[in-house]
């Protein structure tokens, strides 16, 4: 009798334990990883023709911490030498007598050195720079083989497997956004983290910016944060006279920024 009772208790305990364990058992059939979670966000296939990506930069907010340049290097495996940058931060110091001095030590990744004699600086500020993903890009115009191109969603990209490494595009870019990758020997540049944005994520530099200096979004889409940015700010672009139609819009950027 006792054995039967104890068996019944054991059975009951077992069934209760099963009920508790059921949701966990469900996980065995559907192992989830972070990338699965991220990919699950895209329910239908990504259609590039529906998007036209651009970026806004609010110079007033930039504190020059350099986390954007650091995150970009880590996300995209950019070589660590201080002559290869996909994005970097410059500091402009405009003195009272009109002298302008600019520096960008290691792109701003390690911070900026002290300004000597700062009481003479009339204005001083930081400007983050990156590839402007121009709508009329001079780098795409000059590629002899068609290795760099503007994708259907407005991002200028480089085809690593087709690039010859002639460096014409690096010379052609008026913003200094391109470099020759020292190991792959092909031209390389900011891609707006294309591998992230097609999955609905933000570019790494926008992700880590602590002051919301960088706004990523789409041109002409009312619901994009970029739309509010260009509505409420006076927008300038870098080197407009070169007719490259850059798609990185700067707000509050001084006229001395070149």
């Amino acid at each position: 009798m006792n054995q039967k009772e104890s068996q019944a208790v054991n059975r009951r305990e077992f069934i209760f334990a099963c009920k508790r364990a059921l949701p966990l058992a469900g996980l065995l059939f559907f192992p989830l990883s972070a990338t699965d979670l991220i990919l699950a966000q895209e329910n239908e296939k990504y259609n590039p023709t529906e998007h036209n990506y651009a970026m806004g930069i609010d110079t007033h907010k930039c504190i020059g911490c350099g986390r954007c340049a650091d995150a970009c290097k880590k996300e995209n495996n950019v070589p660590l030498e201080p002559i290869f940058f996909r994005t970097w931060v410059e500091r402009y110091i405009i003195a009272g007598n009109g002298e302008v001095s600019v520096d960008s030590p290691n792109g701003g990744i390690d911070g900026f050195p002290e300004i000597k004699g700062d009481k003479e600086a009339l204005r001083t500020f930081f400007v983050p720079k990156l590839c402007n993903h121009c709508a009329n890009p001079p780098c795409v115009q000059v590629c002899p083989v068609g290795a760099t191109f503007i994708s259907r969603d407005g991002v200028v990209l480089v085809d690593e497997k087709y690039c010859v490494g002639c460096r014409y595009c690096i010379q052609a870019c008026p913003y200094g956004a391109r470099y020759l990758h020292p190991e792959k020997k092909v031209a390389d540049k900011c891609t707006f983290c294309y591998h992230r944005i097609v999955k609905g994520l933000l570019p790494a530099c926008v992700e880590v910016c602590p002051t919301r200096t960088r706004i990523f979004g789409e041109v002409g889409v009312r619901s994009s944060p970029l739309s509010r940015f260009v509505r409420f700010n006076d927008i300038t672009v870098l080197k407009p006279s070169l007719n490259t139609s850059p798609k990185v819009y700067y707000a509050g950027t001084d006229g001395e920024v070149r």
Partner: protein, 115 residues
């Protein structure tokens, strides 16, 4: 006179010595410079040879064969620094297969083999 000097000095003040970080590396250097030098040699040698053969300048007779041969030799050598400068010289043929559909490129692409 003083105003000219003052204007020049102001120009010097505006030179700050800043280069974009990506532009520190010089890309088109010695190897690219060699190419127009060699093609200049080719053109010059060819002119010399044609002066004798076509325009009958007798004074050049002892030398026209050497200049013609050296023009041919340098012609084969001239594209080599360009190839060496490429990051991927093995893909250089792509330039002829998929040239950029741009009028300026078509003109220069036909001009270069012509020289």
């Amino acid at each position: 006179m003083e105003s000219i000097a003052a204007n020049l000095l102001q120009g010097f003040h505006e030179v700050t010595g800043y280069m974009y970080p990506n532009e520190y590396e010089l890309h088109w250097g010695l190897l690219i410079v060699l190419y127009p030098y060699l093609t200049g040699l080719v053109a010059g040698a060819f002119i010399l040879a044609s002066l004798e053969r076509v325009f009958n300048v007798k004074a050049l007779k002892p030398v026209y064969r050497l200049s013609l041969l050296s023009a041919l030799a340098f012609l084969f050598v001239a594209p080599l620094p360009l190839l060496a400068h490429l990051g991927h010289p093995e893909r250089a043929f792509e330039m002829f297969l998929t040239p950029i559909p741009n009028r300026r490129w078509r003109c220069s692409a036909s001009f270069t083999p012509g020289t």
